[in-house]
Symmetry: D2
C-alpha cells in the first residue's frame, strides 16, 4: 500500500488522478492540497465524486503532507509555482511525480526561453522524463519524475519508431496537433474557452512557438543520432478531451507502408498502452477517450516521400494523469497497468 498526497488536486489533472486512484487497490490518497480551493470539500467542486470520496482540500504545504503520512507527492501545481515545493518534498524523502513543465527539459536555458529562469536547475539532471515507453527503467528507480506534456506525449509516440530507426529526416518534421479544450485546464476561465465562442469553431494558436516544442526536440533527439528539429502547430477543437496528432516526416529513402508498419509494430510490441492500427485504419480520439491508450495510424505517401503518422490520446489520461499513474506504479513496484487498463467508453 502506498500513501499518496496530491497538490493542485482541484485542477483537471489532479481530479483525473484522484479518479484513477480511487480504482487502485494498492494506493491510498492521504492528502489533497490546493491553493484558492483550500478549505473546500472536493465533492463541492466535483459533484461527480459524490459518495466516492469525502475529503477536504488543505494547503499545498509539505509540512501538512508529511504529517499525513504521504510517501509520494503528485504535484499538479502550475509550472514554477511548484518547483520549490517539489524540492522541499524531496528533502523530506518523499518521491515526487510532477505534472508541470518544470522538470521536463534537461537544459535550463531552453526552459528559460519558454518559461522563466528555472527556480531549481540543480534538480534537472536527476529528474526523469516520465514517458514509460522511452524511459521505463529510469522511472523505476527515480526520485523525481516529470510527467510529459500532453502534446509531446502524442507527438513523440507517433514519431519515436520512425526516428529511432532512422526512417525519416531528423529535420523538417511537421507536427500538426488538434486538441480538446480540457487541455486549457479548469482555472483558465477565459473568453476563448467560453462555450459560445468556441463551440462550432476551430483555430490554430501558438503557431511554431508553443512551449511544448523543446520537449519534442529533446526526446526525439535522444532517440536519433542527430539533433531532431520539429515545427509544431497546435489547434483548438471544440471537444472536451482528446488530442489527435498528425506528424509528417520526410523518408530518407523510399519504403513501403508495410515496411514502416513493421518497424512501428516491433517498437511497440510489448507496450500495454500503445496500439498500432492495422493498414487502412486511422485512430479516432473517441476510441481512446477515457482510457490510457495511445492508438497510432501510419501512412506512407510513396509518391511524395512523406511518412505520415497519426496518434490519438486522451489528453488528461495518457497525456497527463494516466502517464503519471503509470510512473507511480513503476516507482512503487506495482504492475504498470494497475487501475489503468479500462478501455475507452463508446460512444
Amino acid at each position: 500500500m502506498t500513501k499518496v498526497g496530491i497538490f493542485g488536486a482541484a485542477g483537471y489533472g489532479g481530479i483525473e488522478f484522484i479518479r484513477l486512484l480511487l480504482e487502485h487497490p494498492e494506493v491510498e490518497i492521504v492528502y489533497l492540497g490546493g491553493h484558492t480551493t483550500a478549505g473546500k470539500k472536493i465533492t463541492d467542486l466535483y459533484p461527480n465524486l459524490l459518495g466516492r470520496i469525502d475529503m477536504t482540500i488543505g494547503e499545498s504545504s509539505v509540512g501538512a503532507l508529511v504529517n499525513s503520512g504521504a510517501e509520494v507527492l503528485c504535484s499538479a501545481l502550475p509550472h514554477k509555482v511548484g518547483a520549490d515545493i517539489v524540492a522541499e518534498a524531496l528533502d523530506n524523502r518523499l518521491k515526487v511525480i510532477d505534472f508541470s513543465a518544470d522538470f521536463r527539459l534537461k537544459d535550463a536555458a531552453e526552459y528559460e526561453k519558454y518559461y522563466q529562469p528555472h527556480p531549481r536547475p540543480e534538480l534537472l539532471a536527476e529528474a526523469v522524463y516520465g514517458l514509460p515507453e522511452l524511459h521505463r527503467e529510469e522511472i523505476i528507480s527515480a526520485r523525481l519524475v516529470a510527467v510529459p506534456g500532453c502534446y509531446p506525449t502524442g507527438a513523440i509516440l507517433a514519431l519515436a519508431p520512425a526516428v529511432k530507426a532512422g526512417l525519416i529526416e531528423p529535420r523538417g518534421i511537421i507536427i500538426d496537433s488538434k486538441s480538446g479544450v480540457s487541455g486549457a485546464g479548469r482555472s483558465k476561465v477565459m473568453l476563448a474557452f467560453h462555450f459560445p465562442e468556441l463551440n462550432e469553431s476551430m483555430k490554430a494558436y501558438s503557431v511554431a512557438v508553443h512551449r511544448h516544442t523543446p520537449e519534442m526536440n529533446q526526446e526525439l533527439s535522444l532517440l536519433s543520432n542527430e539533433p531532431v528539429e520539429v515545427t509544431f502547430t497546435p489547434h483548438l477543437i471544440p471537444v472536451t478531451r482528446g488530442i489527435l496528432t498528425t506528424a509528417y516526416g520526410r523518408l530518407r529513402q523510399p519504403m513501403t507502408e508495410t515496411e514502416a508498419r513493421e518497424v512501428y509494430q516491433q517498437f511497440y510490441a510489448n507496450e500495454p498502452f500503445v496500439q498500432v492500427m492495422p493498414a487502412g485504419a486511422q485512430p479516432t480520439t473517441k476510441q481512446v477517450n477515457g482510457s490510457n491508450n495511445c492508438h497510432i495510424g501510419l501512412v506512407v505517401a510513396e509518391d511524395t516521400g512523406w511518412l505520415i503518422a497519426t496518434s490519438a490520446i486522451d489528453n488528461l489520461i495518457k497525456g497527463l494523469s494516466g502517464s503519471g499513474l503509470q510512473c507511480l506504479n513503476l516507482m512503487s513496484g506495482y504492475t504498470e497497468t494497475t487501475a489503468l487498463d479500462r478501455p475507452a467508453l463508446w460512444p
Copy 2:
C-alpha cells in the same frame, strides 16, 4: 465466477455491458451473439476495445450459448426479436437479463398497444422489473429480469419518493425528459441522427405518445395506492450520453422544500447509486456520465404548488447496462456495486 453470454453484443447497450464486465472480477464473458454482425471480431466494430478483448461475434443462438457454458444470458436484442430466444434460454435453465421492452410491462394488452401482440405473454407474470431501488428482493431470486427503459429509470427515480409518500397528486404529473443521442442506438443510422442535422439543434418527439410511458405508470402506480398517470415528453439533445428528467407533480398539500427533501433522503438513504443533491443544487448530466449514478435535484415551488424533481443519469449505464449489471450482481450473489462504483469522468 459466473459465465455470461451476451446477445445483441454489438449495439450500444451490449458493448457498454461488455466494457463493464471487463472490470468485473467474478464474471467471465463466454459468448457474444449478434445478427448482422455475426462473424466479425468485436474489436473491428469497436476499436476502443483493442487489446482488451479478442472475441468473434457468433449467431444469437441458444444452442451455441449453451455450448459455451454460459449460465446467464444478457440479451440486448431489439424488442420482440428476442422474446422467443429468451424463452428458449429459460428452458435451458439459464437465467436471463433482458434489455428489451418485452418483459417490462405486466399487462400484455398495454404492451400490444405500444408494440405488437406479445410473443410470450406467459412469461410476464414471472418477469421482474429490473430496477433494484424498487425490486431488489425480487431480482435476487429472479430467473428473468427485464431491465427498465432509460427514460423510465430517470423518471421513476425522480418521482418514487414523492409518489410513495403521497406528497403529490397521482394524476396530472408532467415528465419532461432531455436525452442524448446514444439512446437511439447504433443501428438506427438515420437522417435525424446525422451529425449536421442534429448538432446545434433540439427537438421534442413522440410528444405524449412515447412507448416508455406505460412503464412509468405501472411502476409509479405500484408505489401509490391510486393509479398514477403521467404525461411524458422526450426531447432529443445534441449530446452523446445523458438523460435529464424534469418531473412536475402537484403537491397534495403545502409543504416546504426541506420537508420534501427529507422524504427523498430517507427513501434513498441506503442506495449506493442514488444521491439527492443538497438544497440549491441541481444535477448536471456530466456529473453522472460514465457512471451508474443517478443524481436528483428537488425544488418545491411554494407559490404555485408544484414539486419539481430532476434526475440525471447516463442513459447507457444507469439507464441500461449498469442497471443490468446491478441485477446480474444481485442474481449471482455478488456485492451489488461490483464493477459499478467508478465515478463519472470530469470533464
Copy 3:
C-alpha cells in the same frame, strides 16, 4: 433613412443587432457605445465583421449620441445600468428600444422582487412591451419599447393562442425551456460556461424562480380574462443558439388537436415570423437558428387532458435583436420584415 446609435454594442445582443442592421437599406449606424470596450475597434472584438464595418466604440454617453445625429437609441446595456441613460435619451427626443429587463414589467413592485428598486418607475406606464405579435399598434407609436426577454418570447408565443381563446386553465401552466448558452451573454465568462464543463452536459437552473417568470404572467394575463400563473424551469443545453420551449396547459374541456391547431393557425395567420407546424411535426431549433422565425408545434394529449405547445426560436434574433429590429421597423415606418426575412441556415 434612420440614424441609429447602439449602446452595449459589444455584447451578443448588440453585435447581432449590428449584423442585422448592416443588411438594412434604410438604417444607418451612427454611433456605437460600450463601457469596458470603449476605445476599441468593433472588428478587433468581432473579427467576423472584418471588411464590413469600420467603427470604434465610444462611451455610452447620450451627449455623444446626440452629437452623432442619432434619432433612435438601441440600448443593450445590462438592466438597471441603462435606465437613467434611457430616460436621458428620451429627454433628448430620441426614441429608445431597450433590450434590458428595465421596462418590460408594468408593476414596479414585481420588478423590485426579481431585480432591485426600479430606478425610473415613472416610465413604466409609457413603455411598450416590444412583442409585435401582441402589441403591434402600440409599438408603432411608441417612444420607448422594451424588447421582451428571450424565454418569455418563446413561452408567450407558444401559449398566446390557447390562453386568448380560453382553451386552457390559466393556472397550473408548466413551462419547461431549453436554452443555448449564448443567452448568458459574452461578458459572463464563468466556470459554468467554460467549454469543458458545459459540453456534453445539461442542467436545470433557477427552477421556479427565474426572473423571466413575471413577464410571462403579465403578458399571458393580458390575453386572458383571468390572472395567468405559470411555473417556469429553464435548462442549459450545450448549443450556442436556440430556445426550445415545451409548454403544458390543462385543457378546460376536451378538444381535438385539429381544433386546437385551427385556433393557433388563425391567431398567427398574418404573422410574418410565426409558423404553426403541420400535424405530426415538431420544430427543431436548427430550423430557426439565424432567423427571426418562431416555429410552433402543437399536441393535444386527449387521454390526460393536456395541451402541449412547443416553440423554437433563435434566442439572439427572435429572442432579442430581431424582435428589436421588428420594433425599429414599426417605429420608423418601414416594412416590418425589412432585413429580417432571411431563413435559417441549414445545416
Copy 4:
C-alpha cells in the same frame, strides 16, 4: 433578372444556393430538380424555408428546365451523374455552373485516376475553374464553370500568394485540413456521421490519397513556374460547418513574417471576400461561418524555415455555394458581391 434552375436542389450545396438566391434581387429561381426527392415540396425537406419559398422538386430533366425558362443551370448533382446533363444543357444554350468534380481538372487522365473514365472529356478545355480570385476574367465569359472543391478553395487561397511570388519550394508542401461534417453531404447518412460516433471525436481520413489533391496541384502549378506537389491530409472534426486549413511550405530563402504578409496583402488587396489577418492573429472558423469570407493567418517560422499559412472558410459557402454565386454574378454581369456580403453570425 436572371432565371436559374437548380439540379440536385435538395442536397446541402443545393439548399445553401437556394438560401443565398432568396436574397438576390436579380435572380429568380424557376426550377428545382432532384432525383430521389422529386415530387416533394422543398419545405417538407427543409423546414427552415417555411414561408420563404413554395416550390416542388421536379426531375433533373433538361427538357423541364428549358420549359421553365431557365437561362442558367446550377447543377449540384454528384460527380459523373451530372456530366451528360451538363452537356445537354449547354447544347440547349444554357450557361452552366457545376458544383461537382466533373469539370475541375483539365487532365482527363488525372480525373480517371481518382474517379472513373471521364464521361465528357471534350468539355474540359472549355470549362473554367470557378475560383474568382484566380480566374475572374475567364469566368465572366464562360459558358461552363466548375466550382472548386471545398478543400482546394481553402488550400489554394492559403498558398496562392506564396506560390505565385515564389516564396516557397513548389515540392514538399504539406496541407493539413480540418473539416466540419456538412462536407459529407446530406445523402451520405452513414455510421461514420452518426452523431454518437462522431461527436467528441476527431480523425484523419484519406491520408495522402484524397480526391481533392489534384485540384490543388493543378491550380497551384498554374501560379508557379514549376510543378507544385502537395501532400494533403483531411481530418473530420465534430462541427457542422467550417474548414480550417494549415499549409506548410519551405521557404526558398529566409524572410521575415512582415515581408511575407506584405506579399499576401498585396495579392488580396482588391478581393472582397479574402482578408489577411493582422500579425499575431489566427482566424477561427466561427468568424467566417455563414459567410462567403476566407480569412487567412500567416506565420513565418524563421528558425526552421517554414511558412505556415492558415485559412478559414465556410465549406458550404465560400467552399461551395457562395463561390458558385460569385461566378453566377460574374457571368450575369451583376456586382460580384450581390447577396454575398453578409458577415458571419457570431456567436
